[in-house]
Amino acid sequence: MLRTFSRAVSSAVRVSTTSMSSTPALHPLTRSVLYSPNSGTTRPFTRSLWMMSSNGAASGYRPKLFSSKGRSPVSCECVSLHTEGDKAFGDFLSDEMKEEKKVQKSKTVPKMSGGWELEQNGTEAKLIRKLSGEKVTVTFNINNSVPPNFEEEAEQVQGQKSAESEPDVVSTPNFVVEVTKPAAKHSLVFDCHYPEDEVSHGEGEEESDIFSIRQVSFQPEGDGEWKETSYTLNTDALDWALYDHLMDFLADRGVDNTFADELMELSTAMEHQEYIKFLDDLSGFIKCN
């Protein structure tokens, strides 16, 4: 829940600072901004910010952020804006970071078994393995890799909120497997994902494979543009025997259920790391350094 609040807050602050000059209408919460893609600077304000910054409904306290005259200047020698809301936000972020670091399993990400080398470039990671002349590269991005957990969040809203009942945040990124044979012009590329009902939230009955292949295509070898004119095999309506052969092909190259489970753990750890780093950067940006 803390992460939910903090993500909502980060969106809301951008709205409030851009709307300062307009007539301040306090719009009730209409929707969560948790996973709103590319919403730029005009994101709906969230109730979460009220709850975070209010001293209580009866106090009459209103964050000066929303008052047309209400900026409380903080004496500071830098030229940027500092408000009481910013201070509250900064304090909140400090607490949030402390909590997140407490639940962080390890400062380093887990190692994959099977001899995979990890290369990380921001939120994108590559796992590379060479065997018998073939090169296998698995690429994934931790952005937007945590599916919302509506059932458990509903339980939280009903008053069962506690540190112990925080739902596990699991990252299940889509991933792309490229298999390149020596001296080949093209790689065989598999677009894979974790079917939604396979992410275990307790002891529910999973019915799907741990991971699935969605599409298969030949693409030019190397980091080139995706060639849209290459035929792409979609597995939705594929012969099941062919699908099983493709899965066996991947398993022979180390991309099997064990790999998929470990990739989930790796991605979850990376996502958590990046989230904490983001909170830290956000805190630094807000505070007067």
Binding site: E206, E207, A241, D248, A251, D256, N257, T258
Partner: protein, 168 residues
């Protein structure tokens, strides 16, 4: 119609295509190609949980069958009126349990999995082994299926029902 194959475990390295091919051969022998069939491969933890929930036996086992038609006469194929009913049910294969048995007895995992699946399909078709008479009938059916299978494939599979007295 087809076989829905799922691999929900990561303990046993499974050859999906090989298992599917063997299951298709079994379906052909039994004449049940028009019926859907689910084959789900699970580990000990999961099969033990299912065994406990549905049979009150808190231990892993090799196979659990969930027939779509619960009151079939053994060997009598259903005659459904609707397309949706062209389904025999689901078989959960305890692949980890089977693998451990194979390791102890130096047997081929996928061969035994096929025998186990044949046993599971017989259950979906109404066969039981709770009385001696039922056991004999089921053994006879399994023997027929696997003899035909061995004839087609050149392999040497044997019925699971022989070992039914130790069913988990």
């Amino acid at each position: 119609m087809g076989v829905v194959l799922r691999n929900l475990q990561n303990v046993v390295p499974l050859r999906r295509a090989r298992l599917r091919k063997d299951v298709e051969t079994l379906r052909h022998i039994l004449g049940i190609q028009k019926f859907d069939l689910g084959v789900i491969c699970v580990d000990n933890r999961k099969i033990q949980r299912i065994n406990n929930i549905y049979r009150k036996k808190n231990m892993p086992t090799d196979v659990l069958s969930f027939p779509f038609y619960e009151e079939l006469r053994p060997g009598k194929l259903p005659c459904p009126l609707y397309r949706d009913e062209l389904n025999l049910g689901d078989i959960f294969l305890g692949v980890e349990y089977v693998m451990k048995q194979c390791q102890q007895q130096s047997q081929d995992l996928h061969g035994i999995l096929t025998s186990v699946t044949a046993h599971g399909i017989c259950h979906l078709l109404g066969y039981r082994h709770e009385t001696e008479e039922e056991w004999k009938e089921m053994l006879q059916k399994e023997s027929y299926i696997l003899n035909e299978f061995n004839r087609f494939t050149g392999r040497q599979l044997v019925p699971l029902t022989k070992k039914c007295s130790q069913d988990g």
